[in-house]
């Protein structure tokens, strides 16, 4: 398994009232979207792996937003932050924090909603399309400017997902419901107490 990962490690704050960890699948790489995204002039799009990996640094620190109808983006309703991004297999996995104290209604909706009903959508700027005449646009360059939490059925990629983790954030950097590999990663790469970022490129396994 080939993996590219980037993370912003935030200082540990036990029981932080405004950090609700989340994780999700933002999009797929090297696979066409199920439906044409907004701004693609009716074309479905493929985000190439190379473009996605090159754009990963731009994703960190970007906000997640939501629209009241959970059907699109509203860049003025930023309710969380992305602190970690992986390209794992053909998925871009992200995790971060929702501002639970500032947006209690969002947290409630996400906790009470049907499991598996929510997805994610990226927002790209300065994208480059290899061939504008192609039926499916291939994005060879892009910059992530944000992401939205929305109903999965409203996302251009149906395989995206979003979920809040069970517990409040108690770890640094990566969202609270850390997978075993992530815990190992923290043991190896922990830099608690200071903001920094780490990059692991082209590893065969995660954080070995």
């Amino acid at each position: 398994m080939r993996l590219e990962a980037l993370a912003v490690t935030l200082p540990e704050v036990a029981g932080h009232p405004n950090r609700v960890p989340f994780e999700g699948v933002l999009t797929l790489v090297d696979e066409p979207s199920n439906r044409p995204p907004s701004g693609a002039r009716g074309h479905r799009v493929i985000l190439t792996r190379e473009a996605a990996i090159a754009a990963l640094p731009s994703l960190l620190g970007m906000a997640v937003d939501y629209a009241p109808g959970w059907d699109g983006h509203d860049a003025r309703r930023k309710c969380g932050i992305i602190t970690h991004a992986d390209v794992e297999g053909n998925r871009i996995e992200v995790s971060g924090y929702l501002f639970g104290k500032d947006f209690p209604e969002v947290e409630e909706k996400l906790r009470r909603g049907d499991a598996g009903s929510m997805g994610m959508s990226y927002e790209l700027a300065d994208a480059h399309v290899a061939d504008l005449n192609a039926a499916v646009w291939s994005l060879t360059r892009a910059t992530f400017t944000g992401a939205a939490i929305l109903l999965r059925e409203k996302a251009a990629y149906k395989s995206t997902s979003f979920r809040l983790c069970a517990k409040r954030c108690r770890t640094t950097g990566i969202a609270g419901s850390a997978k075993p590999e992530r815990k190992a990663a923290e043991r190896q790469g922990r830099t608690s107490g200071r903001n920094n970022w780490q990059m692991q490129t082209g590893k065969e396994t995660r954080w070995r």
Partner: protein, 136 residues
């Protein structure tokens, strides 16, 4: 002399305007051809111009389909032959031959019922039945 200068100035103005339009067009075309897209959002378009147009077209299509259905219903009503009553003599004649209902007349039964009639009479009865819509 003044008129000539004025004409030249006018022509120059129009040429400049044309050049400006051409440059704008070329710039636009270059941006399109370069493959650069300012913004892409991986959410399905909700309230853009495209979806509004789509919604309007869907509404028009639904209205057109309803109208077609109404017209088809009217046409089929108009096309259905109005069933006429048969003369009493013909009805009696058919009843003697065992045909009491005009809803389903079999060709064999009709021929059998009409065997006692002349050719002209048989033709006349069948013509009456066709006019009445009992025979196709």
């Amino acid at each position: 002399m003044e008129i000539e200068a004025s004409n030249i100035l006018e022509k120059l103005n129009s040429t400049v305007s044309l050049l400006e339009r051409t440059v704008a067009f070329l710039e636009q075309r270059e941006a399109l051809m370069s493959g650069d897209v300012q913004k892409i959002v991986a959410a399905v378009e909700q309230s853009g111009e495209g979806s509004l147009r789509e919604a309007e077209l869907e509404r028009k299509l639904a209205a057109a389909e309803q109208q077609i259905a109404q017209l088809s219903a009217q046409a089929s009503k108009a096309a259905a032959p109005a069933r006429k009553t048969l003369p009493a003599v013909t009805t009696q004649l058919l009843a003697k031959g065992g045909i009491t209902s005009l809803e389903s007349i079999e060709a064999g039964a009709l021929d059998a019922a009409l065997t006692g009639l002349s050719l002209e009479q048989r033709i006349a009865v069948k013509a009456q039945l066709i006019r009445a819509g009992a025979l196709a």
